[in-house]
């Protein structure tokens, strides 16, 4: 259920009294309602489901996951298993 993917907020505007935004998904830009993410700012990543932004992506937590997974790889390398590190978003 509930397909939702992260995109980056490009602009904020008003439509019929609702706070709306244009969200960039790798070059395809889709409109979404921002009423449920009052804290959002341009440049933030947000998860969008059926035209509604539901959560601002916590970049710190995303980084924590990457770090944890990097550790997995470091350990694997220490055990002699060759693994590349993943490329992180900038």
């Amino acid at each position: 259920m509930c397909l939702a993917i992260p995109g980056k907020l490009l602009e904020i505007f008003d439509e019929n009294g609702l706070k709306m935004g244009n969200i960039d998904f790798a070059g395809s830009v889709s409109k979404a309602c921002l009423e449920y993410v009052p804290e959002i700012e341009i440049g933030h990543y947000t998860i969008v489901h059926a035209g509604f932004a539901l959560s601002v992506l916590n970049e710190e937590e995303a980084k924590n996951s990457f770090d944890a997974w990097d550790d997995l790889i470091d350990r694997a390398n220490a055990e002699g298993i060759e693994m590349e590190k993943l490329e992180r978003p900038d």
């Binding site: 509930c2 397909l3 998904f25 790798a26 070059g27 395809s28 830009v29 889709s30 969008v48």
Partner: protein, 349 residues
Amino acid sequence: MDFPEALSCPLPILSHDTVQLAHGAGGKLSNEMIDKIFLPRFLNNTLEKMEDQAILDNPGGRIAFSTDTFVVDPIFFPGGDIGDLAINGTVNDIAMSGAEPKYLSVGFILEEGLPFDTLHRIVLSMEKAAKLAGIQIVAGDTKVVNRGSCDKLFINTSGFGFVPDNVHISASNLIAGDKIILSGTLADHGMAVMTTREGLSFQSTVESDTAGLNHLVKDMLNVSPEIHAMRDPTRGGLATSLNEFAGSSNVGIQLYGDTIPVKENVRGACEILGIDPLYVANEGKLVAIVPEDIADDMLAAMKNNTHGKDAVIIGEVTDKHPGVVALKTGLGANRIVDMPVGEQLPRIC
């Protein structure tokens, strides 16, 4: 190549701004439309004679003949319109046999009230597409129907070309070991059309890939006439073409999952709408099945053509799992790529 002079060509002066039922009735108005809109754009020695049929030379050998009808909505979409789609579609269907597309007929069904400006724009893009493909429009027909009986306009194109004697391309020719080459990125056309549909709130940057592929095919045949099978994966996408190959030849197809190219913005649109690019229509791509020993040379030749610059080997034919297309996932699992069921719809879950 570009034809800016054709695109800037202004709408000829006509007695009406929009198509009337009388434009299809065969009288003065019909003639005016033919003389001012169609003939100047499609003119060639055969059409010029204005006979009821085109009489054409027959060089002998086998003929590849194809027909297709175009009803796309919207009629203008990023990267193309129903006009170039109608030319390229039939050009490609002919070219997929290895034939050089030579002659086309064009049939229009126009809805009463269609602005001539719209029709003219479409005819201009047909002219451009036909010139690029090097195909002649030698027969035509126009009907006008009552408002509401069709949506703006429908176009049928039929055409043929001559198949070189040494070329034998067929969906039933696949043998284990053959390589599968895709000429470029997937899903551009289908997503360009879908994201412009009303209601989707998209500002899409996705452009249709509509293009005639006959010159690319010619380059490929110059490498070797030994192409086993070839299709342009339109409706139903690559998954459909490959399943048809696997079924007709009773072989398995193994795809290397992460090799299939999709443009970033197209992927973005697919992700948010929940659509699998393997099932989306393309209008300027081909998939060719070639013997392993010529695959690399074929690929190199394709990459030298603008319409094949992103070509890539995406898999191979196997005698395992006959009739089934499988895709290796990043995790090393093998999943089935089945035929699609019906229309691809945006989904939320």
